[in-house]
């Protein structure tokens, strides 16, 4: 049976972030905009977990929690508080209220799931076999592994690519591939996450004795020159040029 999760937060943004965090798990999500609504939904649905904001109009999370603790049917429901305040006094107050755990905003969905798994078992969503998402980024062209970066590199994308990288490098070594092209022709704009990802890819390849060449546009080439970490990396302007350099280099 799917775990019922109730999110009580006046911000639709936070409710969406929580919903996304649980999307890979067998969960049924319920939402409320304030403590009063939250209590109504909790009484009706008997959730297995409540994710509860503190500062809300109509009824705050603190007030709702006090009412939950006084309700014999709901008092044992695990509650994870969301708070924008990490100060010592605030944290102590939250702990005293008898919550299972708390998460300080700003937070990532992964952080919330990590806290939840400390108190509950989350079942991965049943259904189709997990999609091999590495195909979005990795392809083989002859004797070269191509790693194509998308237009925008944000933290989740970077984590996803790095997550695939080790397995891909092991697979390359197993099949005798010793060359990788990091294709960044689609990338628009640089950021710290991109720079860290480039360095991680190059270092992983070097550690495995895999030769790597970087392909990008002239504009990207100029932008990478501005970062100390990437200023010395040679950039080829096409896949063909990179392949030629493998032959001659």
């Amino acid at each position: 049976m799917a775990l019922k999760v109730l999110t009580v937060d006046d911000s639709k943004t936070i409710r969406m972030i929580v919903k996304k965090a649980f999307k890979s798990f067998e969960c049924e999500l319920f939402e409320a905009e304030n403590g009063r609504q939250g209590l109504e939904v909790a009484k009706k649905e008997r959730p297995g977990l409540i994710v509860l904001d503190i500062t809300m109009p109509v009824m705050t999370g603190t007030e709702m929690l006090a009412k939950l603790k006084n309700d014999p049917d709901l008092k044992d429901t695990p509650v994870i508080m969301l708070t924008a305040e990490s100060g010592k006094e605030n944290v102590l107050e939250i702990v005293k209220m008898g919550v299972s755990d708390y998460v300080v905003k700003p937070f990532k969905g992964e952080q919330l799931i990590e806290r939840v798994t400390k108190i509950l078992t989350l079942e991965p969503k049943k259904g189709a076999e997990p999609e091999d998402t590495s195909k979005k980024f990795f392809s083989v062209d002859g004797d070269v592994q191509i790693l194509t970066l998308p237009q925008k590199i944000d933290r989740p994308t970077s984590v996803e690519i790095e997550g695939h990288l080790k397995g891909k490098i092991e697979a390359m070594l197993g099949s005798g591939l010793k060359k990788m092209i990091l294709d960044m022709q689609k990338v628009v704009g640089t950021n710290v996450i991109l720079i860290k990802l480039i360095i991680a890819i190059i270092q992983n390849c070097q550690n495995a004795n895999i030769r790597v060449r970087v392909v990008g546009t002239r504009a990207l080439h100029d932008e990478l020159k501005e970062f100390q970490e990437t200023s010395e990396i040679p950039i080829d302007l096409s896949i063909e040029e990179a392949k030629e350099k493998f032959q001659t280099g």
């Binding site: 911000s11 305040e85 990490s86 006094e89 905003k105 990532k108 944000d154 989740p156």
Partner: protein
């Protein structure tokens, strides 16, 4: 008085803004000497939260509409053309100010200036400025991500 004057508001604000932009938006921002202009293309959106307690005041984040939409898309993991309407943008800007305000509130409390935080409010329009008087400290900083600018202002005073 001494407490308020001793606060390193620049560090408080930059740490809070860097943390929120990095964690929630995967965006790196840096402080900028550029002037934030509210009368550019699109509307000017301000998210603010208030502090009330031993320290009172408020913190506001000013964004032009284009940057506010980029931030909304980043926060919700979507493209800007998938944004359903102004309410989504306002909610994200409000949450952004709530997170920055929450971080500041914690730092004020740790500096022996405990206070409570209000729920966020949004002001939106074109070509307006906010004037605030009667505060002991008023600091403002411009942050930049690529060509986009955000102005963060904080007004505070100590209650006697």
């Amino acid at each position: 008085m001494a407490n308020i004057e001793a606060l390193d508001l620049k560090k408080f604000i930059t740490d809070a803004v860097y943390g929120v932009f990095d964690t929630m938006l995967s965006m790196s921002v840096s402080t900028s000497d550029k002037e934030f202009r509210s009368n550019g293309e699109g509307r000017h959106i301000v998210g603010s939260v208030g502090f009330a307690g031993k320290l009172t005041g408020n913190v506001c984040i000013h964004l032009n509409e284009g940057f506010a939409r980029l931030i909304t898309a980043a926060m919700l993991g979507m493209e800007t053309d998938e944004i359903e309407g102004d309410e989504e943008v306002y909610d994200v800007v409000g949450e952004l100010s709530n997170m920055i305000g929450g971080d500041l509130k914690s730092r004020f409390s740790d500096a022996n200036l405990p206070c409570n935080l209000s729920i966020p409010s949004i002001t939106s329009g074109s070509d307006f400025t906010l004037e605030s008087k009667g505060w002991e400290r008023h600091e403002s900083f411009v942050f930049q991500n690529q060509e986009n600018l955000a102005l963060v202002e904080v007004f505070v005073k100590e209650e006697k």
